[in-house]
Each structure stands twice: as structure tokens, then as C-alpha cells.
């Protein structure tokens, strides 16, 4: 209010800037402009709108197209044309992929690795974060520096590969989540969160005779549900997207995670072999629909958790952590 007052005073005394003259009128109020904002000219608003629509379309159209192709029948693919809406939509591709064979197996592998990986990684990260957040533990500064050092000095691909090989983890699922067991990044976020918990609460519990583990289990974890959930989600997304580790450590094709299988079929053009029978009365689904159905299936879990990831980010909790 004070500002508006100032502006009016100014306009009364000196030659009023254009802004101030424009600062009245119902359209402004309708658009909820702050008092100091001038009204944007129409052409500029149209230009902005057009740019935004173009960006949105360029982001979404490819996905729409991929989904459309995945639902297309053989007839649609042969007819070709603008596939935004398939003319004869069918679930045949999904039925074939999900009724057995390589793709279904790799989906199960990836789901299993994701669940186990998140559980293990979250346990280790949470415990270390709590350990490093408690004041008065001798040596905790040194341990913290060990973690921070991992930020600055990351080992190369070959030495890590040789180590994993030496530990006998080649062709084991553990190779997909153990080499990245604790991320220094997640650890710092979680430790910051723990340190900002009300310490009086923790002290009170200790005075009442709670053990370190009791404080961790009954006080710290319940207070940190939100941050734990989000870090678990991020770990899950990373594990679901695991590709490089699969290429590097798994020679056995039957253990490949979905992303590696996806590359094999969609980008390398390998024929999709499926244990499932193709329905006898219909032509088999076209390779393209099968490929795109695979892309949709591999994307689906990410879409499922996306609203939660997005909500967290717009809240800016992580961006706050980034800014230190």
C-alpha cells in the first residue's frame, strides 16, 4: 500500500512516468499486476504465449506420438500418416510384451533391483547422515571430510571396473547398486535436514533414557518422513534408469535391466523374441508398435512418481540445499 501511495505522490508532483499513468484501470486489477508493473503490450504477450505454446508442444508432441504408435495396429503403421491418434487402436503390443519373454523378465529384474537398491542405499545413507549429524562424536569431522572428498575426487571408470571385477561382482545384480551405494550429494542433503531438527526434542529423549538407536528410530526418522520419501524417490528413479552399469558389469543378457534391453530392441533393432504366442486370428503387432510400447512401459513408473518429484521441487527444498 505504501508503494502505491508513493507512486501517486510522485505522479502528482513531477511529470508522471508512463508506468504510473497506466497504473489504474480494471484490466490491471483483473490480471493481478503488482503496482509497479507496467502493462505488457499486446504484441509482446502474444509473442510470449506463442513461444510457450511452441516449447510445450515440442516437449509433449514426441511423447503423444510415441504413445500413439504403441497403440497402433499393423494396419495403422502400414497406412502411415500423422500418427497422433491411431485409427484402429489396439492393446496387442502390450499384451505380447507383458505375457512373457525378455521384456517382462527385464522389467522384473529392474523392479527388483530398484526396490532392493533403494532399501539398501537408503539405510546406509540415513545411518551415516544421522551419525554425522550428532554433535560430540569424536572423529566425525574427519569422516565428514572423507565424504566431501568423494565430491572432489571421483575415480575413473577403469579402476572401479577392475575393483568390481576383483570383488567378484561381475554378472551379479549387486553390481547395479553397490558401486553407487551412498551418494555424497544425498548424504549432505539428509545431514542438513537432520541438523535442522529441533535438538531439544532429541536431547529430551536422551535425558529420558532413550538410546542412540531409540532416538534415531522413534524421533529422527518419523520427523524426516518427507525428506526420506523424496530421497528414496530419487534413488528409485536413478536405479530404474540404470543403463551404464548394466552395460559395464553384466555380460549375461538374461540379467539385463530394462534400459539395456530397450537399447537392444529399439536402437539396435534386434528382433523382439517373446515367449508369448501371437494371437492366431490377428496379424502380429508391427515391430514399431512393440518398440514404442516398450518405451511407454519403461517410462510409466517415472510418470507415476513424477507428481511427487515435481511437488517437492517446486517447493524448492532441494534448490534451497543446492544454494547451500
Amino acid at each position: 500500500m505504501a508503494t502505491r501511495q508513493n507512486l501517486t505522490d510522485l505522479s502528482a508532483s513531477a511529470a508522471p512516468p508512463a508506468i504510473v499513468r497506466a497504473a489504474t484501470g480494471s484490466r490491471r486489477q483483473r490480471r493481478k499486476l503488482a503496482p509497479w508493473m507496467e502493462d505488457t503490450p499486446l504484441w509482446l504477450r502474444l509473442l510470449k504465449g506463442l513461444t510457450l505454446v511452441l516449447i510445450a508442444v515440442s516437449m509433449l508432441l514426441p511423447f503423444v506420438h510415441v504413445v500413439a504408435v504403441s497403440f497402433s495396429s499393423a494396419k495403422d503403421v502400414i497406412q502411415g500418416g500423422f500418427t497422433i491418434f491411431p485409427r484402429n487402436p489396439t492393446l496387442e503390443s502390450y499384451r505380447v510384451l507383458l505375457s512373457g519373454g525378455t521384456v517382462l523378465r527385464s522389467l522384473c529384474v529392474t523392479a527388483g533391483v530398484t526396490v532392493v537398491g533403494v532399501a539398501v542405499q537408503l539405510t546406509f545413507t540415513t545411518m551415516l547422515a544421522y551419525g554425522l549429524s550428532k554433535p560430540g562424536v569424536p572423529g566425525s569431522r574427519f569422516f565428514l571430510w572423507i565424504v566431501l572428498g568423494a565430491f572432489l575426487f571421483t575415480p575413473g571408470m577403469i579402476p572401479v571396473y577392475l575393483l568390481v571385477k576383483e570383488l567378484g561382482m561381475i554378472d551379479s545384480y549387486a553390481a547395479l547398486f553397490v558401486p553407487g551405494l551412498v551418494s555424497a550429494w544425498n548424504l549432505i542433503i539428509m545431514r542438513n535436514f537432520f541438523m535442522n531438527l529441533p535438538q531439544e526434542l532429541l536431547d529430551a529423549a536422551r535425558i529420558d533414557g532413550a538410546s542412540d538407536f531409540g532416538v534415531f528410530w522413534h524421533i529422527v526418522l518419523p520427523l524426516s518422513k518427507a525428506v526420506l520419501a523424496v530421497i528414496a524417490l530419487f534413488m528409485g528413479v536413478a536405479l530404474w534408469n540404470t543403463f551404464f552399469a548394466g552395460i559395464l558389469y553384466l555380460n549375461d543378457a538374461s540379467k539385463w535391466p530394462i534400459q539395456v534391453v530397450l537399447r537392444q530392441y529399439v536402437l539396435e533393432g534386434a528382433a523382439i523374441t517373446s515367449a508369448a504366442d501371437f494371437a492366431p486370428d490377428q496379424p502380429p503387432p508391427p515391430a514399431k508398435s512393440l518398440q514404442m510400447a516398450m518405451v511407454v512401459i519403461a517410462t510409466f513408473p517415472i510418470l507415476l512418481v513424477y507428481p511427487f518429484l515435481q511437488k517437492y521441487f517446486t517447493k524448492g527444498v532441494l534448490t534451497g540445499a543446492i544454494k547451500g
Binding site: 510522485l10 509497479w36 511423447f63 571408470m157 579402476p159 542412540d212 514399431k288 515435481q310
Partner: protein, 331 residues
């Protein structure tokens, strides 16, 4: 000491002598008191030692003539210790290796394109979104542009392949309109702009969110003051908005420059077969094919070391420059 002796005299023989515990003893007591905390800390610290610091030490094979064959003879751990030392030979070989030079040149070209186009893109989008009045439009746009960040490169390349590839969406349209087809995904000549475009498509939302967070932290009263002083839109952008987000821009710029030699692995690996090694080989993929595929471990480790040392030097230099121009830097 004097006061303790005095106490001794007064209490001689009747009470046990109090002497403050020594430093070492106090430390031991504290360690014993916090023993449970070490159960929390040590497993993960062990992880960092094994999977981060041990391989770092393993970098010594960059100075050895180390191949799977010598490993089989000596056993890998002994191989680290007694492997035939060749000094800087691997590093010298690098610069007479035409494939390495190709990978180096591709990496530098892509990095320059990224700095020119991929770095400012989220900044521009954030400024655009920030200038919108409607919170709803702003949020919707963020939701849309941020999604590809969470998808793997395999999915992103698959989607692009389906959209721009030989029999993809674009060529279908061109075909229907009676034009010939265009070759985007398999054309080595435009591969570098293509990967930068893919990178922008995938990551623009991530950068935008960071810049937007910084933009919303700018004090509104600065804008009000600027308006009272008669500053127009461009003037406010130059004198309020840009200085306001300058620290975060500088920070991200330093980090980007520090990653100059690591443009990534998956994006290039996945498209290598489509456009050929000549156009797509970067240092990361070169290291993989030389090391893991061809088994030339010592040489590939040397490549990795050059990559991280140059990255480290670039970060330090960029940080020094930023400080010289009055910014905070990161170190």
C-alpha cells in the same frame, strides 16, 4: 600442579586423590560413550574407502603397461604393485593416437556448443517464465519442461529416433506433403548440434527450476525502487534481475566449465552405431572402448586421469577468474 599438591596435603591419607583425566583418556571415554554412533558411521565410511579411495589409488595403473594378460599373470592386486612401470609412456602415446585426438576434438567442440547454447537456454526460459503474471501457466510450463530430466537417455534417444528418424514422425509428414525425407538421426555432419539439441530438450527444465528459484529470491522492493527511478523493462532486467541471479549463474558456469571434458557417456554410446565413431566418439566412450572392450587398461586409465585433472584445473581457473571479477566462486 601447585593447587593439586595443596589439595593433597589437606586430604592426605583420608580421601582418594582427584586428578583430572588426561586428554587421551577423555577421548577414549567419549569414543566409548558414542560407540553406537560408530555402528551408524563406519559401514558407509568403509564403502567410501573401498569404492572411492581404493580405485583412486588404482589410478597408478595409468603409469603401468597394464593389460588383462599381465593381470592374469600377476593377479590384479599384485598387478597394481609390480606391474611393469612405463612412466609417462601412456600419456605420450595418447597424443600420437589419432582416435584419441578425434575423441578430444569432438569433446571440445560439443562442450563449446553446449556453453554457447545449452547453458543460456534455461536462463532464457527462466526469465520468460518469471515475467509471466499467471502462477498457473508458470507451474504448468515447469511441469512440462521438467519431465524429460527424469527419463533415461535410452528413452530420450528412442523417442527422438521415433520422431526424427528415417521412418519417424517428421519424415512421415514430409512424405505426406510430397517432400523427400531428411536424415537427422544418422547424419554425422549434424551430430554435434543434434546432441546439444537433445541435451537442451532433456535438461532445460532442470536448469530453469534452479534459475527460477534464484529469481524469486530477488527483493521486490528493488524493482519498485527502480520503477520510481524511472527504469523501464530492459533497464530493470539489466540492473536488477541479472545482478540478482549473477551468483547462481557464475556458480553453474564454473561447474559447467569444470565438466568440460566429461560431456557424458550414454548419449554418445547410444548413437555411436547410428553416426559412426568418427563423429560421435568422446573421451568417455573412447575410454570405455579402449579400456573395457579392448583391454588396454593402463592407457584408458591415463585418458580418464587426463580428463579429471583437466576438469579440476578448469574449475580452479574458472573459480579464480570469477573471484577476480568480484564474484564469490565455489572454492
Amino acid at each position: 600442579m601447585a593447587s593439586i599438591q595443596a589439595t593433597d596435603r589437606r586430604t592426605s591419607g583420608t580421601l582418594p586423590v582427584y586428578s583430572p583425566p588426561s586428554r587421551a583418556r577423555r577421548l577414549l571415554t567419549a569414543i566409548w560413550r558414542e560407540r553406537v554412533m560408530y555402528v551408524f558411521i563406519l559401514p558407509s565410511v568403509l564403502y567410501f574407502c573401498v569404492f572411492n579411495y581404493l580405485p583412486l589409488a588404482g589410478n597408478v595403473i595409468a603409469f603401468q603397461d597394464w593389460s588383462p594378460f599381465s593381470a592374469a599373470r600377476e593377479g590384479p592386486i599384485q598387478g597394481f604393485l609390480v606391474g611393469p612401470w612405463v612412466g609417462l609412456q601412456n600419456f605420450r602415446d595418447m597424443f600420437s593416437d589419432p582416435d584419441f585426438l578425434t575423441a578430444l576434438s569432438n569433446t571440445v567442440q560439443i562442450e563449446i556448443l553446449q556453453l554457447l547454447f545449452a547453458f543460456p537456454a534455461p536462463l532464457a526460459l527462466a526469465l520468460l517464465l518469471n515475467s509471466l503474471v499467471s502462477e498457473k501457466v508458470k507451474r504448468t510450463m515447469q511441469t512440462i519442461v521438467y519431465l524429460p530430466h527424469f527419463l533415461s537417455w535410452v528413452i530420450v534417444i528412442s523417442v527422438w529416433q521415433q520422431f526424427f528418424g528415417g521412418t519417424g514422425f517428421l519424415n512421415e509428414i514430409l512424405h505426406d506433403l510430397g517432400y523427400g525425407s531428411v536424415n537427422i538421426m544418422q547424419n554425422p555432419d549434424i551430430f554435434k548440434p543434434l546432441v546439444v539439441a537433445q541435451g537442451i530438450w532433456k535438461e532445460v527444465g532442470w536448469g530453469t527450476i534452479i534459475f527460477l528459484a534464484a529469481l524469486t529470491k530477488i527483493d521486490v522492493s528493488l524493482y519498485e525502487a527502480a520503477v520510481i527511478d524511472g527504469a523501464g523493462g530492459w533497464r530493470r532486467m539489466r540492473d536488477v534481475t541479472l545482478p540478482g541471479i549473477r551468483p547462481i549463474v557464475v556458480l553453474l558456469l564454473i561447474l559447467t566449465i569444470g565438466n568440460a571434458f566429461s560431456v557424458g557417456f550414454e548419449q554418445y554410446f547410444l548413437q555411436r552405431d547410428a553416426v559412426g565413431a568418427e563423429a560421435s566418439e568422446v573421451l568417455d566412450t573412447f575410454g570405455y572402448f579402449r579400456g573395457i572392450q579392448a583391454g588396454d587398461y593402463g592407457f584408458a586409465t591415463a585418458v580418464g586421469m587426463v580428463k579429471s585433472v583437466v576438469g579440476f584445473v578448469l574449475i580452479v581457473v574458472a573459480n579464480w577468474l570469477a573471484k577476480r571479477f568480484g564474484d564469490e566462486g565455489i572454492l
